[in-house]
Amino acid sequence: MTAKHDLKPIAGGGLLDRRLFLKKGLTFSAVVLSADVLAQGEHYRPDSSKIAGKPFSNYGLPSQYERETIRWTMGNSMADGNGVSWTPLQDLEGTITPNGLHFERHHNGVPEIDPQQHQLLIHGLVDKSLLFEVEDLLRYPMTSLLCFIECGGNSNAAWRSKPIQTKLGYFHGMASCSEWTGVPLRLLLDEAKLKGRAKWLVAEGADASLMNVSLPLEKALDDCIIALYQNGERIRPENGYPLRLIAPGWEGVVNVKWLRRLHITNRPVMARNETSKYTELMPSGKARQFTFVMEAKSLITHPSFGHKLDKQGFYQISGLAWSGHGKIKKVEVSADGGKTWATADLQEPVLSKCFTRFRIPWQWTGEKVILKSRAIDETGYVQPEREELVKQRGTHGYFHYNAIVSWEIDRDGSITHVYA
């Protein structure tokens, strides 16, 4: 039995104690009556259990009832391989993004690469320029890491003066989370032997835009890997098959897909994607460059725009938080527009630079309320309110938007995206 006081809100708007789920004996009871009238002694079988099921399949697909759980795609009108597709965060739970739903940003389509024809070249400020075959890399010691990849341009619609009304994934879904497995880059750089002057690395993909970008060698030696596997299987073509550079916690563009070349240098190359794009224009007229780290962010995924609350009463608020600086320390949720906050429960394991699922129980009384979440990471960084972010950076930076997201629940249970 649940004591009455357990259901007492711990913050405004009906937020309940996060430990409520764990309390023994808590049930939300309702009596379900079987529709079929069964003769005494007969037992009930669901329809699915009355005929032999379908045979085995070589590669499983989602249920036919889940066909709406898809990436939204948006390509350029003159070149359909230039654009993005978003992870439908509003339809997913847990922290791992299914491979077929990982967000995409391609500059000129998904290249078709035969791994037998693909090689990785390391050259520049090294003692030995080296060429690696994909099948050779498969023999190297590997490591696995669970981490998010978020496009530097994720959430950019939120810079606009009016809040966009679209499903969560379609403006914050250029963020996904996978287990990546591959060869620590440090091992390959050790093999090539870095020269003393080496400071940067220019990574290039084998796609039709030969996308390239610079990153500091320090990062490469710290935790970058040359990934071959994503969530246990070889990386999907749209995510970089056969090789992808993974730079945990850093903006998506430096996680170069279809990796073919690493040029070790003493300075950045000043590529288009680190000058014209992926730089943030500030109100002063100056732009921030090399803002690699994706700072702490959180989003309430359930409920969110497009969902509808059909009756008052008990709901679970659920969402995602992540930080490119390390682990999420705490997520707070507000159900009164930010006046009061309650600590949400963090799903274990809480990993560095990885999606963290948070949840908190909530009693909706049918009033108009505003839901918000804010992430705090292990460095103590607190996800800012939109107003604060705009005060610091103006609204023309385009990249690295990470402010608090607010959902207004109307009396009829409909949900609107608001700036509050």
Partner: protein
């Protein structure tokens, strides 16, 4: 208990060595010629710029044939980015980011066009066509004259208006 602890200590002692050293060392030496063929990076100081040359006069023809369909007449933008003809500056609302108002280095323009453009046929232009179309875009942005020759020497010397417009956030 004792066993477990001593094994753990042993593992701690040997694992860093194993981790740093033990790889199959399967990288094959890459010849200088191969590296030169693969390396297409162009740096702001001009490192990597190929031979060839061009002016805006010829570049205009290249542009009209290979670029205009997506970037619009005189680079003012269409299905693809605006490249020239900014009507206002970076502190205006909204700001106008073009090659002329925003790009810090002219070498980036050559590099990006060579590696990625034209989007529907990347890698199809020769170096002189690339110098020429680069010259045309710089000319459209009032950065160089119509007759100025762009080549490996001159392009690296072009000072872009927004050269000092960037702050390295990383080193902050």
């Amino acid at each position: 208990m004792f066993m477990r602890n001593s094994l753990l200590i042993l593992a701690l002692l040997i694992s860093p060595v194993l981790y740093a050293e033990e790889t199959p060392e399967l990288g094959k030496p890459a010849s200088k010629a191969l590296v030169e063929q693969w390396n297409n990076d162009i740096f702001p100081d001009g490192e990597g710029l190929p031979s060839g040359k061009g002016t805006a006069t010829y570049g205009k023809k290249v542009y009209q044939q290979y670029c205009l369909s997506c970037h619009g007449v005189k680079g003012t933008g269409d299905s693809a980015d605006e490249l020239a003809g900014a009507k206002h500056g970076l502190t205006d609302n909204p700001p106008d980011k073009t090659i002329g108002t925003y790009w810090p280095y002219a070498t980036t323009l050559f590099d990006f066009t060579r590696r990625s453009m034209p989007l529907n046929n990347p890698g199809s232009l020769n170096n002189s066509q690339l110098y020429a179309v680069t010259a045309y875009l710089l000319y459209l942005n009032d950065i160089i004259g119509e007759k100025e020759i762009m080549d490996a020497q001159t392009l690296a010397k072009v000072k872009m208006p927004n050269r000092d417009g960037f702050v390295n956030y990383q080193s902050k």
